[in-house]
Symmetry: C2
């Protein structure tokens, strides 16, 4: 019945426009009673985003698994963001129809922004826990959560714009790889290990011996990013 | 009359709750006609954010000033974000009342998210122009815009939570300084200059002589961020 309601709603929104199609129209088309609609969906907007509540619950459960705290915190939130991407990728036709609707209907766009904000807050709250002992922990958590969501959204939108061609997960990995390649990535890793209560337990993120010396020689005018790459390579050698 | 409507609306929202107070209540309290309300505000939500349209227009004009393209693109969007912060800082009492309302009323929270999204898109569109010649230009623009907005919001929220004590602009500078200290800051500068059509015109962002050699010696295990700072300092000496 839930599927029938979703399908009827999207058909009607496409045919008549979101504002013109009423909940009564939707239940009539689906052949069910009005109360059935509200048993599944709190509002007309929410029928366009039927899987987000479940996905938010999955993300929350994924991040609540303390075994994951052995992983780098930024990598962990990237994996959490992957859950959302997979929800879109699981049904490209539906994702495309929704994309067309959210671009046209401000009320749906607003609903989507509110959903995205809940994902971002979920990721940010997790990072705040992981960065709890850093003086800049809250800021770091909020900015990184926001950057990860932006990277995710960039890949998702590119994929939707292309008519869902190509491997969207690979596209997200590429986008998030770029995010991770900033100081929040590898440095974030080191920083995460520093800030974690259990950092003393294991050498998972420990650096190499601190007595060795690395010498970097570079020309003035070399882009700092390239110097950083060389420093990183030298430190990891 | 506009000020009277805003004041009446906020009083009523505080007294009765946002949902319970109607536009009729607001115009009655303000002593004006119903049509006056809709001359100034398209909806009941928008009366809580009376200055955002003006601020968005200011931001758009600020970024449209091509003289600003001589500046580093990331610095430029940070300056644009400052316009929003100043709008909040200009009236701390009103900002505090709004903050209390947006935390309680989902409809206002949704409205605020939609406004924030328009700021973010404005900053991102500007960065896309500035990064137009980079293959990763769109991604870079979206992620940086999102990180700048997150840094701005962090400072703003901290200031509001503290009851508007302290210098919020200094707090934002600190937060955005952190964002800029990542690879998007100084590196973004170099990259921005590279990617700009007029980069060849002037030495504004040109590095020092490229024939000089810089040597940095560091211990293995030094956090990469610290190495980067030393490399940067050495390059800029």
């Amino acid at each position: 019945m839930r599927e029938a309601l979703i399908s009827a709603a999207l058909d009607l929104f496409s045919e008549r426009g979101f504002e013109q199609a009423t909940v009564d129209d939707i239940v009539a088309r689906a052949g069910v009673g009005r109360r059935s609609f509200f048993r599944y969906f709190p509002s007309k907007e929410s029928v366009v985003f039927p899987d987000h509540e479940g996905c938010l619950a999955d993300m929350t459960a994924f991040l609540a698994d303390r075994a994951g705290d052995r992983e780098d915190p930024v990598q962990r939130v990237c994996e959490a963001a992957r859950l959302v991407l997979r929800m879109y990728a699981a049904d490209p036709d539906f994702s495309l129809r929704r994309y067309a609707l959210t671009r046209q209907v401000p009320a749906l766009r607003a609903h989507e922004l509110a959903v995205v904000w809940r994902y971002e807050r979920t990721l940010g709250d997790y990072l705040k826990l992981r960065f709890a002992e850093r003086p800049d922990g809250r800021l770091r958590a909020e900015v990184i959560a926001s950057a990860v969501v932006a990277g995710h959204n960039h890949a998702l939108r590119s994929w939707l714009r292309s008519g869902c061609t190509g491997d969207v997960e690979a596209q997200m990995d590429e986008a998030l790889g770029w995010v991770l390649a900033t100081a929040w990535g590898t440095d974030g890793q080191a920083a995460g290990a520093e800030g974690r209560p259990d950092a003393a337990d294991g050498p998972a993120h420990a650096g190499p011996d601190t007595d060795e010396v690395v010498v970097v020689v570079t020309r003035r005018g070399t882009p700092v990013q390239r110097v950083v790459e060389r420093v990183r390579a030298a430190l990891e050698e």
